[in-house]
């Protein structure tokens, strides 16, 4: 890979992150599906501990951006620098190991496994005992499994879910499933957490709680979080930087206040809401 020339960023990073290298830099990212451009010229910078929002009307390409960042789709154009490392040529697995974890819009839990097992699968790569150790149940197995279990329960306790550990994940109520997906993503030790509509299907009080939890996660783990959300209260309430996507292109970037006053955004997105 050729060395990347630093590019001026249009994004405003939170004051505390300005001096540090950004966790994510997407440059002129784009993807075509059979001649149709789904995302184009996507350029965005996210600070080390920033909570960023990605909003836009339905079908604007928000989830596609997540899929590009996590390499579920390989970008047709552009560069993704994760913690200054170029992720081109990496696949989903390698990107996760490099530090991006995500949740899914349509929940993708391991439904028939227990809540605990779901989180333990997230911890998988933090353990390193080999196959022989697990078959012979050597001390290393017990030690690492015990540590992993403790870590999993601790992560579950963020959402007060530690008592649900033995339940089957698919049997949980919808909101709890969404929260479990976040815990599972956190268990992979990410530097950047991508949340795809975390508040979907939640009532206002649950959403308010979730906002608190997201902030808490950022503060405890000192990671960056980027979320796609339609709930404007949540987005405007916790995001420090927001990017607005329409027809696959960023039409505005800025702080919540700037976004709320941006005429292009109002026309493309908020404006429609007011009419309705």
């Amino acid at each position: 890979m050729s060395k990347m020339v630093p590019m001026p960023s249009h994004s405003i990073l939170p004051q505390r992150d300005v001096d540090k290298t950004p966790i994510l830099e997407a440059r002129l990212l784009g993807i075509d599906f059979g001649g149709l451009t789904a995302v184009d010229n996507f350029t965005l910078t996210i600070g080390r501990t920033e909570i960023a929002g990605l909003i836009g009307p339905n079908g604007a390409g928000k989830t596609t951006v997540f899929n590009l960042l996590t390499k579920v789709y390989q970008p047709t154009r552009g560069t993704i620098l994760l913690d200054t490392k170029d992720t081109s040529g990496m696949n989903t697995i390698q990107v996760n190991r490099a530090g991006i974890a995500r949740t899914f819009q349509n929940i993708r839990l391991f439904k028939n496994l227990s809540v605990l097992d779901n989180v333990l699968i997230g911890i998988h790569n933090s353990m390193d005992y080999p196959l022989v150790t697990s078959v012979l149940r050597l001390p290393q197995y017990w030690k690492q499994e015990q540590e992993a279990k403790e870590k999993a329960l601790k992560l579950l306790s963020i959402f007060q879910m530690q008592d649900l550990a033995k339940y089957q994940a698919g049997a949980l109520p919808y909101g709890a499933q969404r929260r479990l997906e976040i815990v599972r993503a956190l268990a992979t030790n990410p530097k950047l957490l991508l949340l795809d509509e975390p508040a979907a299907g939640m009532n206002p009080s649950e959403t308010a709680e979730l906002m608190e939890n997201i902030r808490q996660i950022r503060d405890t783990f000192q990671i960056a979080i980027m979320l796609i959300e339609h709930d404007m209260n949540l987005v405007m309430g916790i995001c420090e930087g927001i990017a607005v996507l329409n027809y696959g292109r960023i039409i505005a970037k800025g702080t919540p206040e700037e976004i709320q006053e941006n005429p292009a955004v109002i026309e493309a997105y908020l404006g429609k809401r007011k009419e309705g």
Partner: protein
């Protein structure tokens, strides 16, 4: 092995002829060329004959897969049932033409019954359950036949349906059966293409295979369309069954399984769900099989057929004309 030995013998005479006289040598060369040409032509026709049967059967697999994403393992055994019905009705003294119609009708009815009883209740279940059910149905038919008719092959009265004589066309002996098989298959395929591409029914079939839910919202009767697809697929299987029994005049409980497997390989090879793909795949497998036999490796035929399948699947995971599958994230 036989052909290989014969080839060696031929080259031996060839070498001798060089010593004798250049004139005779030229004559031999000419004659040998002609013999080879005729051999190739007749093998080609054998391949086309077998291939068109595979194609007919493969179409049934392909259409059903296209519409409900099911590998209908029982399809091959429907062919076996068709063969038995034709044999038994002819033996009972029924007019052969009527017997053929009866056999094809039996195939269609059986397929529709299987679809209603075994597959419809599972339409919303995981695909693996549906596949296992299909395997179960296939097993059931095979074992029932074995228990009723015995495990041994029985002769099929092929000469009552198609004359077993052969025609001499340009020095090449071609069996009437071969000609009838190829012609009937091609006509069936043309009619099928017309049905799928030009009629309202065909449009409904294409719509359901594209998106079942959307088709339902557009007022298409999905259940009827699926049943119709099964019926058409097994109509072709019924025709294939008669042609197959006329080509290899015997019936046995397991005759459908290998034929089915090969036809199924043909469908996968061409790209399952694609009608032209099934035709191409059928002819390809038929020709390949005849070719393998012609070079004297008849023991390896099945192995070669499956090896071709594996190579094609690895190079093009959805077959030659299949559409790529993607999962929306």
């Amino acid at each position: 092995m036989g052909a290989a030995i014969r080839e060696k013998g031929d080259s031996g005479t060839h070498r001798v002829s060089i010593c004798v006289s250049p004139c005779i040598h030229l004559y031999y060369k000419y004659r040998k060329g002609r013999i080879y040409l005729m051999l190739i032509v007749s093998q080609l026709i054998n391949g086309l004959q077998l291939g068109s049967i595979y194609a007919l059967v493969a179409l049934g697999y392909s259409m059903v897969y296209g519409i409900i994403m099911l590998l209908n393992f029982a399809h091959g055994d429907i062919i076996m049932v068709g063969g038995y019905v034709a044999m038994l009705t002819i033996a009972a003294g029924v007019n052969p033409i009527f017997a053929v119609v009866l056999a094809i009708a039996a195939c269609m009815i059986l397929a529709v019954v299987i679809e209603k009883v075994a597959y419809t209740p599972l339409r919303s279940s995981p695909r693996i359950s549906l596949l296992i059910t299909a395997i179960g149905v296939s097993f059931l038919l095979e074992n029932l036949a074995q228990n009723i008719f015995g495990a041994n092959a029985q002769p099929f009265p092929n000469n009552k349906i198609i004359k077993t004589s052969s025609l001499n066309i340009g020095g090449v002996q071609i069996g009437v059966t071969a000609i009838v098989t190829i012609v009937v298959s091609v006509i069936s395929m043309v009619l099928l293409t017309f049905l799928v591409q030009k009629t309202k029914r065909g449009k409904a079939m294409r719509a359901v295979s594209e998106d079942m839910g959307a088709a339902q919202l557009m007022g298409i009767n999905v259940n009827n369309t699926i049943t119709f697809t099964f019926a058409v697929g097994s109509l072709l299987a019924g025709i294939g069954s008669i042609l197959y029994c006329c080509t290899y005049p015997q019936v046995s409980p397991t005759m459908g399984s290998m034929l089915g497997l090969k036809a199924f390989v043909a469908a996968v090879l061409g790209g399952i769900g694609s009608i032209p793909g099934a035709m191409i795949g059928g002819f390809a497998i038929g020709l390949a099989e005849v070719l393998v036999r012609a070079v004297g490796l008849s023991d390896w035929t099945d192995g070669v057929v499956f090896a071709i399948l594996i190579v094609v699947l690895l190079l093009r995971p959805t077959g030659l004309l299949g559409r790529p599958m993607t999962e929306k994230v």
